[in-house]
Each structure stands twice: as C-alpha cells, then as structure tokens.
Amino acid sequence: MLPLAGGGRFCLFHPAASPAGGIGAAVYVHPFAEEMHKSRRMAALQARALADAGISVLQIDLLGCGDSAGEFGDATWSRWIDDVAEAVRWLHGRTGFVPLLWGLRSGCLLAHAALAKLPATPDLVFWQPVISGKQHLQQFLRLRVAGELIGRAGADRTSTNELRAQLEGGATLHIAGYALSPGLALGLDAADLAPRATRTRVAWLEVSGSDPPEVSPAGQMRVTAWQAAGSEVSAAAVAGLPFWQTQEIAQCAALIDATTAAVLRWRQ
C-alpha cells in the first residue's frame, strides 16, 4: 500500500530477479474501467517477464480501482496522474533507476500526462495506445446508448451529447456498472497523445488481427508525428487478440516477448 491523498493505493512490486539489484525499473499504468479487469493477466505476465529480465516493476491500482482506497466515482483524471507520478517516485527511490512508464490503452494517456510532473524524462512503452481521450470517452458513453443507436430514429434517442452535457453540468453518470464523475470524464476528454517537444524514447506496440500484423493507419500517423517532433519511436504490431476487450480472458505471448526485447535494447 502506497499512502497517498484519499487513502492507500494497492501496489504489486516485482523486484528484479537477476542480476542483483537489476538493470532498470518500470511502472505499469492500467487502462480504464472494464479494460483494466480484462487485462490483469497480461499485465501480471509482462511484469513477471520484465522482473525475470532484471527490470523491477511496480503495478499500481489507481484511486478507486482494484484494491486501492476510494470508489471509482471518487476518481479524477488529475488524481490519477498524480498517482502515477507518486508510483514513479517510490520506485525510483527503491531501485535507484528512473522507471520507464508502461501504459495500456488509456493508461498511455495517463503516463504521457504524468511526464510533466516528473524531473527526468523516462522511456515509454505504449500498448495499443488510446490516441484521443475524446474518442475514448465517446466510446464509453456509447455503451449507455448502444441499444438505441440502431433502433430509434435520431430525435427520440438519448445521445452521447446529452450525456456529455450532464457531465459538464456536474452530474455523475452510471455507465456499465461504473460511476463516472465529471472530474474523471472531462479530464479524459481533454487528454491527447500529443507528440512531445522533449526527445523521448518510445516503444509503440499494437496487437493486430491482420495477417501479416500491421500498425493501424491511425497509429502510424501518430507515430510519424512523434518522430517528426524528434522522439525516437519504434512501432511494431504483433499477431493476437485484443485481450483488453475480449469476452474470454486472452493472452498474447508475442506482445510480451516484443516488449521485453524492446526494454532490454534500451538497457544495453
């Protein structure tokens, strides 16, 4: 438990197995709502793989998530960014290494935003990054109106615009079993995986159902923008199922191998 504002944050620490003291450190930043639960196994497998390779990993459950203090409805986007920065501080103190930030989906947006709160620029690992927080919020709001999308005519149905207006008016919405506070939704809405002015090393990894696997057109455009801004981005796609959303819990061994290899390249 990491004692932070609003109560303890549940953390899992995977110390580097070898060599003694390890060769680096990483903080995992989980995705949003149901995607966090679907991806628990993959996060645990990757954390162990990195620890075995000498990279100490800290997994933090953000405020109101998993086994941490608070309810989901208490969470705000800025509180989550602070949680990530605090996790980095703790792990840096513990290991002596500047931890890289490894995010999945909207966790990439949080990791990106946390950089502004950190003294040194860490390396970044993006797993299937959400590029636009606005798009991600829209998709979450759409879960509430899904049944109406293809049924009723335009004028009769509740729209995501109305839900957005309710959030802007200060209302908490209940969607898919989650209490979504304005402080969380509007922060997510404004988040964007914008290229950084500071040169940053990024491993951008996507899971693809195509054969051969390919980075999505939208992802490739953003990678190119980051590279043009001076960052060192290596983008790759591996074959597999979208484990953060599949009905059955899925694994993707190729993603774990590619991630560990990318991290170890930085440590050479």
């Binding site: 759409r142 999308l149 335009g154 729209s159 939208a218 959303q245």
Partner: protein, 81 residues
Amino acid sequence: MHSEVVKVLEQTLNLKPTGVRMDADTPLLGAIPELDSMAVVAVITTLEERFGFTVADDEIDGSTFATAGSLVAFVKSKLGA
C-alpha cells in the same frame, strides 16, 4: 476500402470464413445474427480507432449498417474520400 471494412467486420464479429466474399449488396443488420447492438458498438469503436475518426451518434442509424456497401460508404464519408 471495401476489403478493409469487411476485415474489421469479420474480426470484430468473429465471423467464420464462409468462402463467400462480402460484396456491397451483402445485407448486415438483421442478416448476420452476431450483429446485435453491442456488436454494432464494437464495430464502430474498431473503425474509429483503426482510421482515427470519431463518430457522433446522430451520424449513424440502422441504415448505416444495412449492407456492407452502406457501411463502406459511411467510412469513406468520414475519411472525406
């Protein structure tokens, strides 16, 4: 673009390859049992993330998902092509 959209449909709905190629007139909504309201949301989400656009709800209704051709036409209109 047609084959890209068909690929998204097949992958998102986990359709078994039937050997029949979807053409523009292939009916979707009401003809493919896997395509329920949550699957429609999943298809929209996948198209948004793959191509990098955002769909407002008043841009789509049942007619968007009437046939493979109507869905392709919608994606093209979003991409301004």
